[in-house]
Amino acid sequence: MPGVSGRGLAALALLAGIGLLAVAAALAVGSVPITVTQLLAVLTGGGDPLHRELLLSLRLPRALAAFATGGLLSLAGALMQVLLRNPLADPYVLGLSGGAAVGALGAMLLGAATFGVSGAAFAGALLSTLVVFGLAQGVGGWTPTRLLLTGVVVAAGWSAVVTFLLTLSPADQLPGMLYWLMGDLSYARSPLAAWLVLAPALLVTLPLGRGLNVLARGPLQAAALGVAVRPLEITVYVLASLLTAVAVTTAGSVGFVGLVVPHMLRLLLGNDQRLILPASVLAGGALLTLADTLARTLLAPEQLPVGVITALLGVPTFLFLLYRSR
């Protein structure tokens, strides 16, 4: 990777290893005990039929979906934080999850099937992106502050609509609806779409790293150094929105990962976007895979919402890193 130091590459390799371990753990652990020998038997094409079904139909797709969702959200969060130059930015700060939730809930109220609900969530997320983008242009042109304020207010609007829809909804639809608001990987069906977006998106962001490094210091400085600020900002905005929309469509609004993972990495590795962006994908993916594995096994057969575990893992780690930082 151009411009990333040896230490950076070592960090990426380490994170990739942790990611692989997380996926391996997700495959190895569950309510039904499966030994490593049995696991290997299935992975090499044999094994007990029940174990095959558990591993290949349940655990593997879910682990891959968790990894991709975590990666998408962390990358989107890292991009948003640079774009808005605000440490509190996360993938949802501009109202995207609200738009997705309104789309999904509306579709459910109208009686749409699973596929229709996912489609409506995606459409809602993109609509929210367009509304915020259009309004943030305004009369006086776009600034990060104006973008942030527009997004936060639009998000508040969506949240009111969500509350309204929840009040109207029949009780039998509430469990399905809460999923869109809380995020839950037990609903994730195919991880394919998430990976098909995550992989190219990472390739697109890598060359942007240098420009983003300069942008992080402020638009004037960036312009003075020859960075085309507007096009870069628009690319980052569109990209981050797309990543978040796909993540929300895969697993609902999983919180916390997109806010905290990029910050943790900055505390550990410094604020070089060329390193932070790929590291965010790996660390976010690993964190969410691990959290989801714990969520479904910790109190098994009782299944916890993944958000509980991401926070339980993430909050102390982050606070520790923050406390130690200068």
Binding site: T114, P170, A171, D172, P175, G176, D184, E302
Partner: protein, 297 residues
Amino acid sequence: MACHPPKPRFVLALLLMLPALAASARVCVDDDAGRRVCLEQPAERIVALSPGATELLFNAGAGERLVGAVSFSDFPPAAKALPRVGSYKRLDMEAVLALKPDLVVAWISGNPETQVQRLEELGLTIYRSEPLRFADVADTLERFSVLAGTERTGRAAADHFRDGIAALRHRYADADPVPVFYEVWEEPLMTVNGEHLISEAIRVCGGVNVFADLPTLAPRIGKEAVIAKDPEAIVAGGMGEDNPEWLELWKRFPALTAVQRDNLFFVPPSTLQRPTPQMLEGTRLLCRHLETARARR
């Protein structure tokens, strides 16, 4: 030697074979989602994904064939010992699969449909249950007993329930109507509309649900709406089986007819809020309360 009576063990073996002989037939019923559910032979390993379904299966005589249930499946007491497969809102898919059930009874409005579909895709036979009327409770008992090959028990339970409700319906057919407010929950204040099974219980007893016309099944309402309707009786469920403090709270409004006549009644929620044969008990109690209200006029 030849005229020895048959050994008890032999008779026992014959008796044990009887259900096996009866069980060789394919069984089919329609579920509440309108789909036909067929089994090559009556189910031997059933997983129930709601506390209500567990209870109905026990009532239908299929309790011994239950191999898994969700949390809070506490009735009858034998249900507490069943292996758990998560909560009805979040199923532990692995636990369900590992039990190798030949029948899974899902709950349409409670289980996440995505997870139920997933189980179906993985080759499990699903019965989707949602009893909404008294008649559905009895029908469900019969259908479960067909699927489990325990028709005799199931039909008896269904008839007992039908007859019990029919007797109440007959007895209160000409009774003076009592306007009733049924309180599902205190904060937020919730009731039921006319579509709800609890509202059918109120009708059976000759009561009138004052909020029958509201559009949602379990609507949130304001205290003022209750005061405006001025029901003759207030009936509360609650979280536990004890008399809830909720009824005391209404005494702050002495203008209410229900308060003036002390028509503040409690019916244990387990006997009225779950669509199972226990509703017969709950409905009888409710009817007695409304009779008390009539006597206090």
